[in-house]
Symmetry: C2
Subunit: 455 residues, 2 copies
Amino acid sequence: MRDSWSGSDLHLELDPARKRRAALESALRTAIQDGRLTAGTLLPSTRALATELALSRGTVTAAYDQLAEEGFLTIRPGSGTRVADIPQTPAPPPAVLTEPPAHDLRPGRPAAGTFPTRAWLAATRRVLHHAAHATPDPQGQLELRTALAAHLGRTRGVRTDPTRIVVTSGYHQAVTLLAHVLRQNGVRTTAYEDPGHNAYREAVQRGGLTTTPLPVDARGAQVESLTTEKAVFLTPSHQYPLGVPLHPHRRRAIRTWARSTGALIIEDDYDGEFRYDRQPIGALQALAPDHVVYAGSISKTLSPNLRLGWLALPHHLVSPFVQAKEEADTHTETLTQLVLADLIASHAYDRHIRACRLRYSRRRRLLLDRLAAFSHLTVHGVPAGLSTLVTGMNEQQALAVCTTARIALRGLTELHQDPGTSPGGLLIGFAAPSDSAYPAALTALSNALTTGRLN
Amino acid sequence: MRDSWSGSDLHLELDPARKRRAALESALRTAIQDGRLTAGTLLPSTRALATELALSRGTVTAAYDQLAEEGFLTIRPGSGTRVADIPQTPAPPPAVLTEPPAHDLRPGRPAAGTFPTRAWLAATRRVLHHAAHATPDPQGQLELRTALAAHLGRTRGVRTDPTRIVVTSGYHQAVTLLAHVLRQNGVRTTAYEDPGHNAYREAVQRGGLTTTPLPVDARGAQVESLTTEKAVFLTPSHQYPLGVPLHPHRRRAIRTWARSTGALIIEDDYDGEFRYDRQPIGALQALAPDHVVYAGSISKTLSPNLRLGWLALPHHLVSPFVQAKEEADTHTETLTQLVLADLIASHAYDRHIRACRLRYSRRRRLLLDRLAAFSHLTVHGVPAGLSTLVTGMNEQQALAVCTTARIALRGLTELHQDPGTSPGGLLIGFAAPSDSAYPAALTALSNALTTGRLN
């Protein structure tokens, strides 16, 4: 390794790993930004500095010119080269890494370690060149829309076609843009399941729409209480967070309501792939394709980190939605789209979902076995999804105990529009921990529930 | 291969590749959706249909129950099972694939075939598991923000740190969210280079901000004409579309203007990596880090299809921007972020840019050689970037000839806020075609320019 050059008067340290001119420029820039070289300081002549640093005079001249062009120096013929007036760089604050929970029982996150790495890499290899060079489509790449139309029809009974599917960067973006489009179409009032997913409800409200609470019970949303709302947000396959499907009578009732009033149903099929005791209920969308926006994503099947979702839209909403998507971010990045299209077409996606279904079904049984020891608790919902709602405790106390034990999960109350109406409860995810971490997480949860009861 | 079962009275075709119950359900669903089984039709008893289709009665009962639950059938004890009232599926319109141009001279698209597929795949293999399971950060994954802070400091002179960098799904989203944040902060008036990038200007306007035209000349934006605007959008390294850097006097003048008025400069460094005759001018941001939002992306270096961009923000804008990002789509997908962080840290990104620089430099020379034959044309800008502005022709005629020849490029006029002020010209991209396609594209362009002159 060579020694550094140094400019003694200027205290310049030249990085020997870089080319001489670049090293000189960098050293001068740093000295100016740090405040070691203050505004107005006269620099040595190019000849003097070249001699001192054993550089060619041309190198120094080029460096001075470069820095003058960038605004760090001012060169005036006859009066030499001076440091310009540049504010100093403050010391950066330290970057913060948040500590992960010891036990991850957050609802809605798929299992660590089940991501189909090998299949994803193989698909990436097949589509990467095309993904980088294909003409992007704000509606979503046609390959993915075609694969999704067939897949959703076969697995969820969705009645659509590639021209009515739009691809988004996850459901959160979809609902944000949809609220914008609905407002453009004159919608102001919507109904939103209560309790329901609060982050999406807030996205609807940010879009300028009201969200009248739509109560839910063991038969799902009480759709008979809908009146003049222009749209309703539902989770009919598996109500979030209660975990029950919408009763067949109510499915028919809401279809009738939508068709007679012209209102829109937004069906968030957020975990419709995961039913463990029987075949999943088909999408509500199939009953009224012209009145239902069907929404899905890979957040529960693959990973929420990859931000990929889709809507099957009534025809008249496709064009305004695609325009909103284009205005927001032009299009969803093409690589994940084409990888997913490949995984669906090769049936690797189906195989992955089947494997997850078996795994999550076992996970849920293990959780329910543990909860059976607590006779005061009520477990809600059908065998489905990635989380289970449990009520019958003091939620605030239970959450405090879980926080102390570094167990991450959700309280029921924050999912209510009016916290005063919540009976209190815990929404416990059973999918996220690794196989090896899951038993310890269940034990920690049991201990917390025991402690919580004693309080 | 087995024969299909068929339900003679109902004309049901059961798919022999599926399980019997699923095949029966699917056949019934299709018949109802197609309108072959109309609303109110009484279905055969489970016993009768089971006999006819050689299925067990339990299979038929389960299928009827499933379809009743989905809303396709109504089962009333004593009155049998009937078809519910379902709208028919219209025939889907054909999906349209747009025809690609024969000669792709669109500005701003990097070369087909230069995407570093091998390095990208290797990085994907290293980061995929982490990308699927990491805790996502709405500001951007810390690995990428750390890599970017070092990279931008070293290659572009940007003075920032990981806490002041935010990651977005491309520059279009960045400017859209930034307009929203500026308006929240009370900004209403901005100045925008004219001519300039019209899509981003429209994004600023959609955010509720005015965009006073800021004229440009051979020394870049005429910043001395700035008055009371609260923000200015600039391309100081390489003005889009003129292709000239902002003159050192003007760099200092706009820094003084921003510091004295408290206004914000948005520096779009869209192709700052690509200067061919000398070292690139460092970022304007370095002169006033508290008054400049520095923006970059991988759209020119890797691919615009992958939607990844970043901002280096003054400290006070970080938190409101991150909130706007979270509200829009929670966060940018993690995989591309971690792949890029890996490519930067392993210097594969630098190597790729150097290779592209050589390639595009040659491409530009070949274009200028062809244009030299047209003495009436003026070529603008310094040797840099991925496109060149040419004036001196009737733009409308030239574009018409190019359209006929299926040459894709851009006219200058659409980049002006007031089309009447445009001298007319063509913005010719030289990066997108493959090596084998480029000579033919140049010949087609030469022919079009010759024809256009004759008109």
